[in-house]
Amino acid sequence: MSNGLTFSHRLTRLYAWIGGGFILFILLMAVGERLGLGIQTIGYLFMFVPIVAYAGIGFLSRTADVVEYYVAGRRVPAVFNGMATGADWMSAASFIGMAGTLYLKGYDGLAFVMGWTGGYVLVALLLAPYLRKFGQFTIPDFMGARYGDTTRVLAAIGAILASFTYVTAQIYGVGIITSRFLDVSFETGVFVGLGGILVCSFLGGMRAVTWTQVAQYIILIIAYLMPVVFLSYKVTSIPVPQLVYGTVLEKVTERENAIMADPAQATARADYAQRAQAIERRIEHLPPGTDKAELAKLRQEKADAEEHAKPLAPHAEPFPGPDPGHARLNFLALTFCLMVGTAALPHVLIRYYTTPSVREARNSVFWSIFFISLLYFTAPAYAVFAKYEVYTNLIGTPIADLPSWVASWSKVGLVKVEDINHDGVLQLAELTLNPDVIVLATPEIAGLPYVVAGLVAAGGLAAALSTADGLLLTIANALSHDIYFQMLHPAASTTRRLTMSKVLLLVVAVFAAWVASTKPATILSMVAWAFSIAGACFFPALVLGIFWKRATRQGAIAGMLIGLGITLLYLIGIRFYGMATWFGISDVSAGIFGIPAGFATIILVSLFTPAPDRDTQNLVESVRYPSLKL
């Protein structure tokens, strides 16, 4: 050995140990299962062993230094920052929900795949290198330096608004996973999960979050790839699902045609159509003054029945359904909003403050998109393989002979089978699958041992914990750094600032966990809004702030307010007040109006207000060059 190791070498060695250790742990568990280790014990071990590892990293990364606490000391090498961004970015929804969404929506679900990767092109080209050159601690820091303190406060509020619903959903996801695998109540699961979140971030801020996120990325990617690699091997004898699922897709299409031609499928659909009509008649004949909840329940039942009566939409067909024109418009709008939102979510952008240089920041966006694509490349394959298994081995099977995973997931309500036409055989129309079940049940669908199910749970937990940590830190820092330190007490000592940060982190975490434990249906359905909100609030002001010296403080304030205002108006109007849609665009894509409105307002108002002063212009000039030698 040479005398001394660089930081990167040391990190590579450490994470090789962690990755290798994790694989060894999986093998040990597999052997244990063979030798009769109980399912319950395996579930517990897969929950706790990784958490102990995260806690170890979190403890070793404890810090009392401001630069370490806020930006991990600015010495995170590009590759590791890429992995940390991957874990930061990929949430419980990506890990558990994405493949299921693709299963149910086919082509139309690809808006998420493109949106959540293509956003990083915007990050690379328009933001990351410049923010790194600016080199402060938070996104509101940049807004404040470029446009003044009012904008800083607006940005802090925007950051909290976009991150809070999102973090609640992550903690909810953690609660679901822990409660299912530890066999405890959902509320207990949420608070166990809260412990898991805090061990990663409480003592070491960004430094601890960064190094646990790298470990979490390694665990989540192993956990995501393994089941689908096995499934691919089982179906095609080639263990590279991403390369071979095209041929499987062809077989799925054949099966789709066969299923549509099957008369039994037609009778099942006709029965559902009849049921929908029957419910409709009941609704018409309800006595006036019937309970509203009763009515809503009947409406839901009718909608469910109608859903089952619909013809099967071929997997690869874009925009099936009666109105392809609007479906296409919505697809494009959603892709756009997800991309711009990705490029504007503060918890992602602050990751690029942590690299040692502008050059490394650029490099690390490349690694981010690479590591993220590994999962998003695989998700559509996951969906196609699962569909192939369901369409060939499940549909057309006598209901008495269904595989046991159907029964076990029916118990928790994620799978529903109903023999509506009483022929004793399962038709496609008679099967209801919750999107989450695709990833959760694939180990069983592929006939893999229970260890793999535990592995999937550990991966889902890693995804949810890492995202929750990144978001919590963003919220706590917006409060402690931007509001408390910058606005209220600029004279606060370093110790006091850090104490404040940690206290706020704890308060926000407990509050978010409490909100999550009440299972707030509205908040959970609002998660997709975060992208439109962040996109409309930050993106125009950030991009123009870098690329257009003439953008003024008044322009930015007006642009942020109008962009955010239009987005919120549209979201809330459509969702809660039955407002008519504009061009048929659904509420999740509200940013398609807010983002351009933000750009237009900033440009217009800036042109009518005096140009920014010399200092501000010099700041803009300086962020454009990695290093100025004058």
């Binding site: 660089t6 060894l24 590892a53 990293i57 892709t335 490349f366 694509s373 490349f377 060059y625 990695p626």
Partner: protein, 102 residues
Amino acid sequence: MTSDDKRRAYWRRTRWLTLVLLGVWGLVTFAPAWWAQGLNRYSLFGWPIAYYMGAQGTLLVYLAIVGIYVWTMERLDRRYGVEEEAYVEETLEPEVPGDDDE
């Protein structure tokens, strides 16, 4: 060239590169989706083309865009003399790494 000229030239090139790559990004994101129904009539190794683009092709182009950007910008940095000093990682005495694995 004076250093001011060099600086301006660097920024002009940066903007051009950004604009061109954004154009490619927009084209590869929105064109296949807009013409998805037509494109899907042809297939590639089993994938209908529009589906393949959405699931893999576009992602590969994104990676290429960012890769080209990183590579070109590094060359521009050096050519116009705005590159950073090489960052030297701190070297630590060899020691037992933190024992965090299971």
